[in-house]
Symmetry: none
Subunit: 177 residues, 2 copies
C-alpha cells in the first residue's frame, strides 16, 4: 500500500522541497514532527504562483468593512470608489486579510438549533438538499452549515460505534463480563 520512506527518500524529499514548488496539506503516514527544517524555513509551503486561492466568501464582507474604514480614515484625494477599488484589487491586501481571517469563523449553534438538527438526525442521517434547505430556512443558517453539521455528526456517530464495537470485541475475547 504505502511506502515506508527510507532515509534516502527522506533526504531526497527535503532536497526536492527546496527546489520544487511545495504542496500544501500533505499528511504523512507517520507522525509529523512539529518542527522540521522545511517547516522552520517555510520551505514546505506552497509556492505563491501555484497556490489556488481558497474560496472564502465570508471574508468578503469583512474585507469590505476594512476598506470602508480605510477610506474614512484616509485623507487622500481619491473618492470612495477609487480607493475601495484599489484596496479590493490589491492581492496583497486580500492575502493579508486571509492570513488573519483564515478559516470561517466557528459557528456557534444555539441549543434550539442543535436540538432540531439532532431530532432530524435521529430519523435521517442523510437529509437531501431539499431538507437541508428547509432546515436552513427554519433555523436561519446557511445550508452549508447544515451540510457540514450532518457530516460531522455522522463522523461522530461512527466514532462512537467503533468504540462500542471495540468494547464488544474485547468482551468476547477477555470473557470478563
Amino acid at each position: 500500500m504505502s511506502i515506508m520512506p527510507t532515509t534516502f527518500n527522506k533526504i531526497a524529499e527535503i532536497n526536492m522541497a527546496s527546489l520544487v514548488y511545495g504542496v500544501k496539506e500533505v499528511r504523512p503516514i507517520d507522525g509529523k514532527p512539529k518542527f522540521t527544517i522545511d517547516r522552520i524555513l517555510g520551505l514546505d509551503q506552497e509556492d505563491q504562483h501555484t497556490r489556488i486561492k481558497p474560496y472564502r466568501p465570508w471574508a468578503d464582507s469583512l474585507l469590505a468593512q476594512v476598506c470602508v474604514i480605510s477610506k474614512s480614515a484616509g485623507a487622500s484625494g481619491m473618492n470612495y470608489n477609487e480607493e475601495r477599488t484599489t484596496q479590493l484589487s490589491t492581492d496583497s491586501c486580500r492575502q493579508t486579510l486571509n492570513w488573519y481571517i483564515g478559516r470561517r469563523p466557528r459557528t456557534a449553534f444555539t441549543r434550539l438549533q442543535i436540538e432540531i438538527l439532532e431530532s432530524i438526525f435521529q430519523v435521517n442521517y442523510y437529509p437531501g438538499i431539499d431538507v437541508r434547505e428547509e432546515l436552513a430556512k427554519q433555523l436561519h443558517l446557511d445550508e452549508d452549515r447544515i451540510q457540514i453539521w450532518f457530516q460531522n455528526r455522522r463522523a461522530k456517530l461512527k466514532r462512537s460505534h467503533r468504540e462500542s464495537q471495540f468494547l464488544m470485541v474485547k468482551k468476547v475475547f477477555v470473557k470478563d463480563d
Copy 2:
C-alpha cells in the same frame, strides 16, 4: 446496548447493523415530492439490502481475519462465540460487513509522491495508461491511485478556475480596473 447471544438471527443482524454501524449509505432519489414524511424520515429510499454489492477487494482480507479470529475463539458447543462465527460466515453478514467496512482506506501520499504527481500534472492533465503505469512503478503506488489522483486533481483545477472567474466577474461589477 446489549445484544443477547441467542438473538443472532437474521433480524437481529439487521438490527445490530443499524445499531452498531448506524449508517445508511443511501442517497436521495430525484424526482420525488419535496417534503413528505417519508422523505424526511428517509423511508422512501432504497433498501440497503437490495443494492448491488460493491466491489471492495480490500475488505475481503479484513473480513477473513475477522472470521478466522472468531472461529479460533469459538470453543465447543453452541456458545456465544460459535453463533457469532456462524453469523459472520453467512453471506448476508458478509454483505453487510462489506458494505459497512466501506471504502478503501484513504491513501496518504508522501510529499515526494505529490510533488512528482504535481510536476507531471503541470505538463499533462491526462496522462495515458503508460505514463500512469510508469508513475505507479516509480512511486510504489497502484495505478488506480494514480488515476484517481489525476481525476481529483483535474476537478480541483476546475474548481479553482470557477472560483477565480467568479471573483473576476465580481470585480468587474464592483469596478473595472
